[in-house]
Amino acid sequence: MNAEQRALLAARPDLVAIARWVAPGARVLDLGCGDGALLKYLWQEKGAYGYGVEIEDASVLACVRNDVNVLQLDLESGLSAFRDGSFDCVILSETLQAIRHTEELMREMLRVGHEAIVSFPNFGHWQARLQVALGRMPVSKELPYPWYDTPNVHLCTLEDFADLCRRLGVKILERLVLDRGHAVNLLPNLRGSLAVFRLGRAAP
């Protein structure tokens, strides 16, 4: 692991879990891939290969600079560019909360991928609950935006997300809950600030 990768993983603890769950040599699709750092890491460390989808001009340019395949497409209009089952794994890291058509995207992810990995900030974390209890919208490291200027439109808790998975017939294969980079096993919906789910299609 080089210095660049160490810095990346320190800044984004969910990526450690995501990288662990991606099989060597897998074909991956990273939705909302930012500057392509995760894809580059997966390629260098696991020989996992794929494409990023990103809408922001600056991020798209950064991906090209990083020599990462990037497709400038709007996730809100679905994943029609991709065929059924064309990826081993579809990743949506810390982007779920900013998606409008959440259900549609979840379905699409498991149409084009055999598995999906989704990470998101846990709105059930005690700090968020405390701030709401004190009469304020939560602002934290995972939720850094003031209420009037935030890309986030669909915040949820661990339990809410699990409900949605059940509703969509999505199977939860694994779950990792983190707080400040450490795994949280006791009272995760209260103590975890960041959740990572590995999802699969339910058996027909």
């Binding site: 494409y51 600079r65 990037v70 497709l71 497409l73 560019a81 065929r83 064309s86």
Partner: protein
């Protein structure tokens, strides 16, 4: 008077060269060109491994004169001079850049105005209808002539993009990267309709003489002018036109209540039309618009573009522009989808630019930034 100093990132004074090919070239339409010439320009140096050549394919009204200028004419700046030069996104300190003309052109390669040895007269209407595939086949001969076994990249916009794409299908082993800008895998009915209006304008001009106007000493200028006006409208977006001209009047005093120029846009179109009719050939225009209309690699695969692109081995960068209503982003996305189906390496940029189809000629920082980064990675 001294010529103005060329900026340091210009390739400088350039000269067109000409290569002659005596082996007959079979064309897609069934005709055979017994021999042909291609004009081209090169910038930068071919490295010892002959691995740094980049082919620049031009669109309808451009030519092999991609960058720099000619000694005798300070105004003769190459059509993609903002892209190609020392320190520019396609950096001639690293790459050997080849600007190639195509057969059927009016810029010096064998075309309708060339002498037909069989008759001793200009080809005129008898010059065959050529296709994108034919152009690529002819360019491959030029690559052989220059000792280029494999291009680092081919790049083109619009009709040039069709060539950059076709290279990966006709000669998959000879091209590492294909940069396909403002492209379409086939023309829409509306595109073909515009081309047909342009052709009708030319062919109904009394000076056209069925294509044999060279011998009569006339040029179907009226037809060419109208063809250019129509084309030009489709290269610009309505927003870009409104921004540039709006409803500005030539004469600030008001309407003339006659059929002279009232609006600035009319003046602009007439100016562009005159300029075009001075340098472009009507027979060439007819053939190029047909080449555009005919291009459809999926046609031989029952419309399945993924099957058509299966031979491609290159890595791709595909770029479209949101305001391009001639070749829309959805056309580019169809190419991307077909490449994904074939598991090709591909990146796709959809640049939110207001200029319409002509955006591919502008140095938008996002667009040129991506081209620079892409070329930097090729050379690395």
């Amino acid at each position: 008077m001294n010529a103005p100093q060329l900026p340091p990132d210009s390739v400088g004074i350039v000269e067109a060269k000409k290569a002659t090919f005596t082996e007959p070239l079979p064309l897609k339409g069934g005709a055979v060109l017994p021999e042909f010439e291609l004009v081209y320009e090169t910038y930068g140096e071919l490295n010892a491994a002959r691995s740094n050549a980049v082919l620049v394919c031009h669109a309808l009204n451009a030519s092999h004169h991609v960058a720099g200028r000619y000694a005798e004419d300070p105004a003769s700046i190459g059509w993609w001079d903002n892209l190609v030069g020392p320190g520019k996104p396609l950096d001639t300190r690293k790459f050997f850049v080849l600007g190639s003309n195509y057969i059927g052109s009016c810029f010096g390669s064998t075309g309708p105005a060339s002498l037909n040895r069989a008759t001793g007269r200009p080809w005129g209407a008898d010059f065959p209808v050529v296709t994108v595939e034919d152009w690529v086949a002819a360019q491959a001969r030029l690559a052989d002539h220059l000792g280029i076994e494999r291009f680092a990249a081919a790049i083109g916009g619009s009709l040039g993009a069709m060539q950059a794409l076709q290279w990966t299908l006709s000669f998959p082993e000879r091209i590492r990267h294909s940069i396909v800008i403002a492209a379409t895998p086939k023309l829409s009915a509306q595109n073909i309709a515009f081309n047909e209006v342009a052709r009708q304008a030319i062919m109904t001009d009394p000076d056209f003489h069925g294509g044999h106007y060279y011998e009569k000493g006339v040029v179907p200028r009226r037809g060419l002018r109208i063809a250019r006006m129509i084309g030009h409208i489709t290269y610009l977006s309505n927003d870009a036109m409104m921004e540039k001209f709006g409803r500005l009047l030539r004469n600030k005093a008001g309407f003339g209540f006659d059929f002279d120029i009232d609006f600035e846009i009319e003046s602009y179109l007439r100016y562009q039309a005159d300029k075009f009719a001075d340098y472009f050939d009507a027979n060439t225009y007819l053939r190029i618009t047909k080449a555009l209309d005919y291009y459809d690699p999926a046609a031989a695969h029952e419309g399945d573009l993924a099957a058509a692109l299966a031979p491609a081995k290159a890595s791709f960068l595909v770029v479209s522009f949101t305001s391009d209503w001639r070749f829309t982003p959805s056309s580019s996305r169809a190419i991307v989808r077909a490449l994904l189906d074939n598991r090709r390496i591909v990146s796709y940029l959809e640049i939110d630019a207001p200029h319409g189809h002509d955006a591919f000629l502008m140095d938008d920082p996002r667009y040129f930034g991506a081209l620079r980064a892409y070329f930097d990675n090729i050379v690395r």
